[in-house]
């Protein structure tokens, strides 16, 4: 096969890796942090975009879904916050010794397309802590998230020794 034919084949093959090579980095324009209340089927979701932060509560058993609060945010910090997407290399960070407990899913999206989804299960992560700090600064004490760094780290260390 000549070079030209090969080029055409590669260019028009939608599945070929070369096509993926031309993909540009897509920056997130929204992040959401879902807090799962396992074993219950309830989720409290904190959704941040360049305009606002929303807190949404979903009860999957009883089929209701409501936005509890919506507040404007200072967009200056958001680029840094969204930039944390690349710091999460794994899709799951967890302490396997804890059954249930604090389980969160972090989702980075662009125009509803999911760019990255990371699950944290009773796990301390410094970038997640920054995201939670930002949320807590905006939502007030009633909806703030308790992220106990010392306990999470000590539980993780205890687990390694078990």
């Amino acid at each position: 096969m000549g070079f030209t034919k090969l080029f055409i084949l590669i260019f028009f093959n939608p599945f070929h890796f070369c096509n993926n090579d031309t993909t540009k980095y897509i920056a997130p324009d929204e992040l959401s942090l879902s807090i799962h209340q396992y074993p219950m089927k309830q989720i409290t979701e904190y959704i941040i975009d360049y305009k606002s932060i929303k807190v949404r509560f979903t009860n999957r058993n009883q089929g209701f879904d409501s936005v509890i609060i919506k507040k404007t945010v200072r967009s200056g910090h958001l680029k840094k916050l969204f930039g944390y997407m690349n710091s999460f290399e794994k899709e799951r960070y967890y302490n396997q010794c804890i059954e249930d407990g604090q389980i969160m899913t972090l989702l980075f999206t662009n125009k509803t397309v999911v760019l990255k989804k990371v699950r944290f299960s009773n796990y301390y992560d410094k970038h997640l802590e920054q995201i939670i700090k930002f949320i807590n600064q905006h939502v007030g004490s009633k909806y703030s998230i308790l992220y106990d760094k010392n306990k999470l780290i000590s539980d993780f260390e205890n687990c390694k020794n078990q």
Partner: protein, 406 residues
């Protein structure tokens, strides 16, 4: 453990107070009506813990997350081994249910962990959309149970505090039936004969079921290590064949069949065979259990899987293909393989050892199932990710999946 086979577990409260007497009563009531009612376990004590307290120690944290810090004996005597919330003052809310229901349903679930049960959705055979959480446990005692109090995928969360039939039979395998009326079956030996690698797990699960049952006393278990000839496999009419070699063991073989049926195995899949006429002499107190795989109709269909080995990972990609081929869950029309050298740029974008890419929304579940399948095999040590390629494509490609290895 008491002489009558009853398991006694001490329960104590690390920080009880006068204003939560009612809630503590709800927990005790829920446990009495679920685990205690259905198995040969008694939870005693329920008083304030001290430094020497053994068993389950419960810490009440009203702004905390219900959890246990391990499974079964891992939390024996551990301060705060179980944490419960009564007022739901933190992010963990009790909305849409009465506080009594929330406290009871959650207590039943957490006590399941204290009895040693892991989350049901962690099992790869559950094909449940919820992610695994916590420890995986050591073995299975029933088929996957969507209705289990331990399954996040149960549409009725914590099965509303009521043990499912399989929860009951599973916990009875481990702790026995309430009231303890064991009929002991004695055997010198049970030989497990798995007809293929795929049926080894089934053989071991059956062995665990029998060895955990307080109704059976087996001196030794042995396993057939040499390959089983195809002729012998062809003679097996069921997935599980229990063979006895002495008239006195017929009822024992039937008892094993009944035990397995209680654990959810279909009676049609189990045959008890009298082997006396085929033997030159009888072998008393000896039973063989043969397991083979069924030809299950494939339930997950794909038109094409494209295999893309990077950095000389042909062996790995061949293993992946073989695993999928051997799995009776998947029906793949075509496998294609990339034979060109993958550019370094494309390899650099792979953060995981195995990347499964899908190109149509309907194929996300299939990609997840492939991942779960690989995680149950010798490739489980590899990091595996499922990637949604839709944002990068101008159109969708249904029933097509790529698997990249590096």
């Amino acid at each position: 453990m008491q002489p009558n086979g009853k398991t006694i577990i001490n329960v104590s409260w690390d920080n009880p107070s006068a204003d939560n007497v009612r809630e503590r009563g709800w927990v005790r009531e829920a446990i009495k009506d679920s685990w205690e009612k259905n198995t040969n376990v008694e939870f005693i004590g329920w008083e304030q813990s001290n430094a020497s307290s053994t068993g389950i120690r419960i810490y009440i944290q009203d702004d905390g997350w219900p959890h246990t810090r391990g499974l079964g004996t891992q939390i024996d005597g551990m301060a705060g081994g179980m944490v419960l919330s009564f007022k739901f003052l933190g992010e963990f809310k009790c909305d849409g249910y009465s506080p009594e229901d929330c406290i009871k349903f959650i207590a039943v679930h957490e006590f399941g962990h204290a009895l040693g049960l892991a989350h049901e959705q962690n099992r790869p055979d559950c094909l449940c959309k919820e992610q695994p959480q916590g420890g995986d446990g050591d073995f299975y005692v029933t088929p996957c149970d969507i209705n289990s109090v331990m399954n996040y995928c149960n549409p009725k969360w914590s099965n509303y505090g009521e043990l499912s039939p399989l929860d009951v039979s599973g916990i009875q395998i481990i702790y026995g039936k309430p009231g303890n009326s064991y009929v002991t079956v004695n055997l010198n030996e049970i030989k497990m004969i798995a007809c293929s690698n795929a049926s080894v797990d089934r053989a071991r699960t059956i062995k665990n079921i029998i060895s955990l049952s307080k109704s059976f006393s087996i001196d030794k278990y042995t396993e057939e290590s040499s390959p089983v000839p195809q002729k012998a496999i062809d003679r097996l009419h069921s997935l599980i064949t229990i063979r006895y070699f002495d008239e006195g063991d017929e009822s024992k073989a039937e008892n094993i069949k009944n035990l397995l049926a209680l654990q959810g195995y279909k009676s049609n899949d189990i045959t008890v065979e009298n082997m006396i006429s085929m033997m030159s002499s009888k072998i008393p107190n000896y039973i063989e259990i043969w397991t083979k795989e069924a030809t299950i109709p494939s339930s997950i269909n794909l038109d094409e899987i494209r295999l893309i080995p990077c950095n000389n990972t042909i062996t790995k990609i061949n293993s992946i293909k073989e695993i999928i081929n051997n799995s009776q869950l998947f029906k793949i029309k075509t496998y294609s393989q990339e034979d060109k050298v993958v550019p370094q740029k494309a390899i650099d974008r792979l953060n995981y050892s195995i990347t499964i890419r899908y190109f149509h929304p309907d194929d996300e579940g299939k990609a997840d199932d492939l991942k779960k399948l690989l995680q149950t095999t010798s490739l489980a040590n590899n990091s595996i990710i499922v990637e949604n390629m839709l944002p990068k494509m101008s159109r969708t490609y249904p029933n097509y999946i790529e698997i990249w290895s590096k």
